[in-house]
């Protein structure tokens, strides 16, 4: 607990004096030329800012990207995405078969896979882990809709009495999860699902060691006892995983340290230590990067210009697009936002180019479609109906029959972060400038905003967005199902035929059929302005030149570039 970052004052001061002399003698030391030679082991450390401390180190309980960032390292899922996101590749399972009716997935596990304490990973561990995710008493955040809607028997999840362990046991035993032998894990689905292979890549569903859970709990754990069931996840020593790293140290609210797992089937990773800090202030993280204590930094909007103009920093920075898009949500259960022309008018009066290039400093891409670029289903041509066009917008407003007077009583609900406030101030000003409509901003703290949108107590809310859990369109279109009203589908738009279309697309296993069905749905969302799409996000990230072999994808965890594929990264001599 004490002495987290020991620095020897006297020695560093002496070093400092010598270094000043050397620096003057040898000219500018800026770390420009770095070799490709690996640095010695004690320098093979990657230091990253994870931003916020995970609420839990049990992957089944992790829902935010800052939690998944750690979960991915310590545990490994059945499959992994390919670096180009075009398909999946083997992970902890070396292959899988799908039955002809699409209802049975048989995963062939790697026989050489071992836990970090040396014991072999068995299919029974997998069944136990997946059952934990689906245990209503443990209330895993990501169970819905990924697991309860796909695994056979999972649809009864909401009906189980989570206080009764016998009810829970009955439910869990009735799920389509089985282990016919030690290296085969069979999952039965409730209906065919073309996207199920992607669910197998989620960090949430991993194997868990029943004996360790029980040891940490001091005995067998009843299935309705969530507290005992989570005891193992609070101590680095009892977090035993099948991933390529293991946790060596957790300092609450400060950092977590990961070291290579020598038992990992793919061999230990090259980098010797990962340190994830939990620094919430963007300026502090930036300062830490500039003093050489952090190896990456994702720029806040305000710091982008500075980085671009700096000769050293600009070379270390790059724009990495993410599979994340943002939109403005209209409460369509509240007049007059059920008026399509009005929504289109509001959407078409936002100058997205100015938003992306000026307000957001060019770190995001102006956008008027749903599926982001970089993913199957992206189609810029669909976006015309929402493109910026103030003349058309004015006409639409006039045609809609809604007056500016009427609209001035409404407010744009905004979360209290600087980024959100800035964007919404701009949008509100755009509506004023291009439509003559005065819709003010209402800023409240995040929780209150969430509780209000869940109850439908808002007029317009934004920017609302979605980041892909995996690069399959099902993940996206399920947001706007009418069944998701008040839970992700905040605006509850009326979309005739949408639900059926999506259900068909989800369960189809024919890729081209799915694509065309999703395309129809996307067109419907855009043309009726169910929501107003505004931009696709990207991260302008600084990475020190001595961090080598990063494989950066568009679904990396937020502000942690390349973290899906840390196995081969290394720190070069510098």
């Amino acid at each position: 607990m004490w002495g987290l970052h020991p620095r020897k004052q006297v020695r560093s001061l002496a070093v400092g004096i010598c270094a000043v002399v050397v620096a003057f003698a040898c000219g500018n030391g800026g770390g420009t030329g770095t070799s490709n030679e690996a640095a010695p082991n004690d320098q093979q450390v990657l230091r990253i800012n994870d931003g916020t401390e995970p609420n839990s180190y049990d992957p089944g309980q992790q829902t935010y990207t800052y939690e998944a960032a750690v979960g991915r390292m310590t545990f490994q899922s059945l499959l992994l995405p390919k670096p180009d996101l075009s398909d999946v590749q083997p992970g902890a399972a070396k292959s899988y078969d799908v039955s002809s009716d699409g209802l049975t997935y048989t995963f062939h596990l790697r026989p050489e896979a071992k836990w970090s304490d040396g014991k072999p990973v068995t299919a029974a561990d997998w069944v136990y882990g997946w059952k934990r995710v689906l245990n209503p008493a443990l209330a895993a955040g990501y169970v819905d809709p990924f697991f309860d809607n796909s695994v056979a028997g999972g649809d009864k999840y909401g009906d189980v009495d989570s206080k009764s362990s016998s009810a829970i046991d009955t439910f869990l035993n009735g799920l389509g999860l089985s282990a016919p032998d030690d290296h085969t894990f069979v999952i039965k689905l409730a209906q065919p699902a073309g996207y199920f292979k992607w669910i197998a890549t989620l960090w949430v569903a991993t194997p868990i060691r029943k004996d360790i859970v029980e040891q940490a709990a001091g005995g067998p754990v009843a299935s309705n006892d969530a507290t005992k069931a989570e005891a193992w996840a609070n101590d680095a020593k009892t977090i035993v995983g099948n991933g390529m790293f293991k946790i060596s140290e957790i300092v609450p609210k400060d950092h977590v340290t990961l070291v290579p797992n020598p038992q990992y089937w793919g061999g230990a990773p090259k980098v010797q230590k990962l340190t994830y800090y939990f620094i919430s202030d963007a300026n502090t993280a930036f300062a830490k990067y500039r003093t050489g204590d952090l190896d990456t930094y994702t720029a806040s909007t305000q710091n982008v210009q500075l980085i671009r103009n700096d000769p050293v920093l600009s070379k270390q920075a790059k724009l990495y697009p993410k599979l994340t898009t943002f939109w403005m949500t209209f409460n369509e259960k509240k007049a007059p936002f059920d008026n399509e022309k009005l929504r289109l008018a509001l959407s078409k009066s936002i100058d997205r180019d100015k938003l992306a290039n000026n307000v957001l400093n060019g770190t995001d891409k102006p956008f008027s479609t749903f599926i982001p670029q970089g993913m199957n289903g992206y189609d810029a041509s669909l976006g015309d109906s929402q493109k910026f066009d103030p003349t058309a917008a004015k006409k639409l407003l006039a045609d809609s029959g809604v007056t500016a007077q009427q609209l001035s009583q409404f407010k744009l609900l905004t979360r209290d972060t600087t980024a959100n406030k800035t964007v919404n101030e701009f949008i509100s000003a755009q509506w004023q400038e291009n439509l003559g409509v005065n819709i003010g901003i209402e800023v409240i703290d995040s929780k209150t905003v969430t509780s209000r949108i869940r109850k439908g107590q808002f007029d317009i809310y934004g920017p609302d967005g979605w980041g892909a859990d995996y690069p399959d369109q099902q993940d996206w279109f399920d947001i706007f199902l009418s069944t998701a009203c008040h839970n992700l589908n905040w605006g509850c738009p009326t979309l005739p035929g949408y639900d059926d279309n999506i259900k068909k697309a989800d369960s189809s296993r024919n890729e081209s059929d799915r694509n065309s069905m999703y395309k129809t749905a996307q067109k419907q969302l855009i043309d009726t302005a169910a929501v107003g799409f505004i931009y696709q996000a990207a991260e302008y990230t600084l990475i020190k030149p001595y961090v080598k072999d990063l494989k950066i994808t568009a679904i990396d965890d937020q502000a942690i570039p390349g973290d899906l594929f840390y196995h081969d990264i290394f720190i070069a001599k510098h």
């Binding site: 963007a282 300026n283 930036f286 806040s300 909007t301 305000q302 710091n303 982008v304 210009q305 500075l306 100015k354 938003l355 000026n358 307000v359 209290d416 972060t417 600087t418 406030k421 800035t422 919404n424 101030e425 701009f426 509100s428 000003a429 901003i441 209402e442 800023v443 409240i444 703290d445 995040s446 209150t448």
Partner: protein, 304 residues
Amino acid sequence: MAVPIPAAPVELQQDWDVPEQIGLWTDVWRRFRRNRIAVLGAVVVAILIIDAILAPLLVHFGIVQDPIKQDVTNSFAGPSVGHLLGTDQLGRDMLSRLMHGAQISLTIGILVQGIILVIGGTIGLISGYAGGRTDNLLMRFTDIWYAFPDLIFVLVLVSVFGASLLSIFVAIGIVNWVGLARLVRGQVLSIKEKEFVESARAVGSSHLKIVLRHLVPNALGPVIITLTFGIPQAIFLEAVLSYLGVGIPPPTPSWGVMIQDGYQAIFSAPGQVAFPAIAVAITMLSFTFIGDGLRDALDPRMKR
């Protein structure tokens, strides 16, 4: 018979150095006036108040830019002819926003102290004068209030009543009256034992009269100073609330919001945080000088 010699004209006796009888407040005003720094502070505050009132008019007449007009292609600009102090992250004119911000910040500062004075002053007066059980109970009540982390209160008020100017300074005022209550009580406790109060009681003055005529004027000195010190503190608190996300809603400019927004850009555009911070600093200094000047003017022992 002798001619009566008129008596030599009797010279009027020289008046002893009896100071003319003037009221307490005239005396205070005279002494305050002589304190140059305090007067400077008062002048600056007067300028700020005038600016706060006139700013919208100046915009109307085109002398000063519109504080909420955005020009995002010109964000974070440096000083120029059109924008004497540059622009902020949405291209709005900084100078104009600073001038308009004075309205909110001064309102918060002064009104909050008003609330504190009313609540804290009354409770302190009652507690000190009544003594005994009332005093004990009231002091325990303030103990509870004192121990109370104000963030929850502000958050609840703001989320229940909406983040408006009113809810924010009601929240700040309601939570911060305790210090003044204790101070007033202490003053009252010490003054009520003094002779002039005893004689007032002996004469049969009512309690109310004693409180109003004797206690209040004599307790006022330190109270005024605390209040003037508290005004900039409240402005300061507004900046902190903005940092925590529960500040004044946009697009209204206030110094607190501007400081918080500027802080986010402290690396790339340090002027954004410097200008509003300097404005707050100048306000705070001015009020502190006034407070010091008042304290010196009210001090009966200070030489003329």
